[in-house]
Amino acid sequence: MKKTLGIFLLLTAIFLITGIIEPRFMQSGNMINMARWTGLYGILAIGACFVIITGGIDLSIGSLVGLTGALFPLLLVREGVPIVIGFVLVFTCAVTIGLIHGLLITKLKLQPFIVTLCGLFIYRGIARYITGEINQGFGNGFGGLRLLVKYRLFDKIPMPFIILIGFGIVAAIFLNKTIYGRYLLALGRNRDAARFSGVNTDSMIIGAYIICSVLAGFGGMLFALDQNSVQPSTFGNFYELYAIAGAVLGGCSLRGGEGTISGVIFGTAMVEVIKNSVFFLNVPTESEFTVIGFVILIGVTFDELIKRMAIGQKTRIVDT
């Protein structure tokens, strides 16, 4: 919990400050909206977190969201595939992509940055090709399916947020309570030492990339259901960067071996709150990215300083 304290404080601060300056920010409609976005992006960020913990990166998340977001309605609407089969096909597609990433990175020892950068181009291209650049959506149908994003628990809590919490709990238990989670954190900190201890590092890393792609694929379906209009050339653009930003803000280190699921959820919420604050505080749209960039930078710096203070105290105790 200590590790996520810094980001939690910062999140609360931004929340309160924006709320005081602009009371509309605190209205329940807006809160629900932010929770919904946090849910959708958070699912991607949890996937990114697994890969980042191994010391890798996945830049293809956004394109994969685009691909699965286009593929899912395409299968269901244009091809008339039953929902379950559609799910299975999209899921298989995501698993395959993650498996290929993992194999290239572990067996051929290619760099994760390069592999997933190529993925970023390739999946975007495939999405545009299979759809013929035509917008995809569910129209007015599939009401039951769309409850997956539209339903609100107690009329307040949006479904994507509930899904995020569900996934978050499972991921946190996996990471902290199972031997695989322990292996992942160990190999992220020191891959050689983990291998020398008998950890099958290659399969663990492949597993992390599969988890990341599957969550991105699932996220893509949810985004598509939520937006109901998927433009193949832009849908999901930059999403990998939001996911990575959320994970890093939440305490994941790109060096690997560090990261908590609760931190990642706070981090994603932070990104969404910043985006939303920028809107409410009447920051001109053209400066939006600049502001987001700066706030994330400040957040990471702040977090690093807090950590350093904590370490400083610890070493002093050891010295005396």
Partner: protein, 499 residues
């Protein structure tokens, strides 16, 4: 009398849990060769790193030419004329000899643009190489040089910096006899030109040969000083150990004759050599000696499944084992304590508990969930059995001293009850106390019929622990010595490839 070149008084240095240097006084004069000796963990390296600007002393005063100085960085040490030649050489292997010698201080031309004046650099390098009587082209890449030649390049670098005090840390550890002789000649030449050489070594015979004065450290303190005429092997040893070296109690060798590890015609990639054959019996410690680069670590890694083998078979307990990954090796009952514990042995940012249970995590799970009570219990047991000094089993391993870190590495394997234990330099950088504890542990393992292969560069350790010694030279096994044939000379002869 002129003031000494360098004088340090009351130097203290603390590391977490260790008082590495404790009120040490030293004095070096121009034109002398001073050997600094002591056991591993005696504080030699720390002290030298303080003088070389790598570490800052926590207390004490350093004077150069009588003036009080602080040496906050290596650059400052260089300015003061202090050069440090590390045991692991610090050269950029993809650059030429001249580029290495002048790295960061390249002669320049076209002043505002600061182009490198290669011509001048080459000429100056030639001069330095001739001073070293080294017949090399300044433009040859360092990666094409032998270790001995690389070391000469380091010395050349020191000379080009007008060094007056050159610290050499175990300079001969990877040199052939011929190269060592060349180095000694050079040291004598440097000495006559007024340079002071600080010579750190474990090899007492060499110290005897080259040193004008010997400083002995023990447990971070001055233990004594011997002038040229007082230097004898026994004197040095008794100051290093602080007690009469009692004869190692010969363990009752158990004649089990049960082969535990059999290596047949093993050929290892990257060690294109003759196939390797040997057997280790249950309850036996086989020492393995060789100079750096002899391929000992590579051999151990091949057995442990980290390094690819080209051909050959490995049998563990009479069963042919397919050891392609460490996981398979561990399942076959092989464990390895690697040489560089911070890189391969431990995850230093993780806790003692996480480290100890990592290889055996599979034993403490229920449906892949870690049974934390169990891991805690096992860790506590291990910490107690091995006397690992830590205040809490959830402390990060990096807060432990070297000796305790090494005990954690050993503890990782003990709960798995391995049948073959590969130890690669098990006591490197370990304090005297932990060292004897590790030896005791080896004894205990042996009495439980574990087969142990102990790689070590410490001859004394090899002689003390081994029932039998294998020697490697340039990737091949050059010999095997039985207990009664063991002597430093016999081992060194095989290790240097002299038949």
């Amino acid at each position: 009398m002129t003031s000494p070149l360098l004088e340090a008084r009351g130097i203290h240095k603390w590391f977490p849990g260790v008082h590495a240097v404790n009120a040490v006084d030293i004095m070096f004069h121009a034109g002398e060769v001073v050997a600094v000796i002591g056991e591993n963990g005696a504080g030699k390296s720390t002290l030298m790193r303080i003088i070389g600007g790598v570490y800052q002393p926590d207390a004490g005063e350093i004077r150069v030419d009588g003036e009080v100085v602080t040496i906050p960085s290596v650059a400052r040490a260089t300015d003061l004329g202090i050069a440090f030649i590390h045991q692991e050489l610090n050269l950029a292997s993809n650059l030429s000899v001249s580029a290495n010698i002048y790295l960061g201080r390249e002669p320049r031309k076209f002043k505002p643009l600061n182009f490198i004046d290669s011509q001048q650099m080459t000429t100056q390098t030639k001069e330095i190489l001739s001073q070293l009587s080294l017949d090399l082209s300044p433009n040859i890449l360092v990666e094409n040089l032998s270790i001995g030649q690389q070391q000469m390049v380091e010395i050349g670098k020191a000379l080009s910096q007008k060094a007056r005090l050159i610290i050499m840390d175990e300079p001969t550890s990877s040199l052939t006899q011929h190269e060592t002789n060349h180095l000694f000649e050079l040291i004598r030449t440097l000495k006559s030109s007024g340079v002071c050489i600080v010579y750190i070594s474990h090899r007492l015979a060499e110290v005897n040969q080259i040193a004008d004065r010997v400083l002995v450290l023990r447990d971070g303190k001055n233990s004594g000083e011997l002038a040229r005429e007082e230097v004898t092997h026994d004197q040095m040893v008794s100051l290093m150990v602080g007690r009469e070296l009692k004869q190692y109690q010969q363990r009752q060798i158990q004649q089990t004759c049960k082969p535990m590890l059999e290596i047949c015609d093993l050929v290892i990639s990257e060690l294109a050599t003759k196939p390797i054959n040997f057997t280790i019996y249950a309850g036996e410690v086989v020492g393995m000696f060789g100079l750096v680069g002899a391929g000992r670590t590579e051999l151990a890694e091949a057995i442990f499944g980290v390094r690819e083998t080209i051909s050959g078979t490995i049998k563990v307990d009479n069963q042919e084992a397919d050891l392609e990954t460490p996981r398979q090796a561990i399942e076959a009952g092989v464990a390895m304590v690697p040489e560089d514990r911070r890189v391969y042995g431990l995850i230093v940012e993780s806790s003692v508990c996480d480290n100890i249970t990592l290889p055996s995590l599979n034993c403490y799970q229920w449906a892949k969930f870690i049974r934390e009570k169990e891991t805690k219990r096992v860790t506590k047991q291990m910490v107690e059995d091995l006397n690992v000094r830590t205040t809490n089993i959830f402390n990060n391993v990096e807060t432990l001293s070297g000796g305790n870190q090494q005990k954690v590495v050993l503890a990782k394997w003990l709960s798995l009850a391995p049948r073959v234990l590969l130890l690669d330099e098990p006591t490197r950088g370990v304090d005297v106390m932990s060292k004897s504890e590790i030896y005791q542990l080896i004894e205990n393992m042996v009495s439980q019929e574990v087969a142990i292969l102990m790689i070590s560069s410490d001859l004394e350790e090899i002689l003390r622990i081994s029932d039998r010694v294998l020697v490697m030279h340039e990737g091949t096994l050059t010999g095997e010595l039985q207990r009664e044939e063991l002597s430093e000379e016999a081992i060194m002869k095989l290790a240097t490839g002299k038949q």
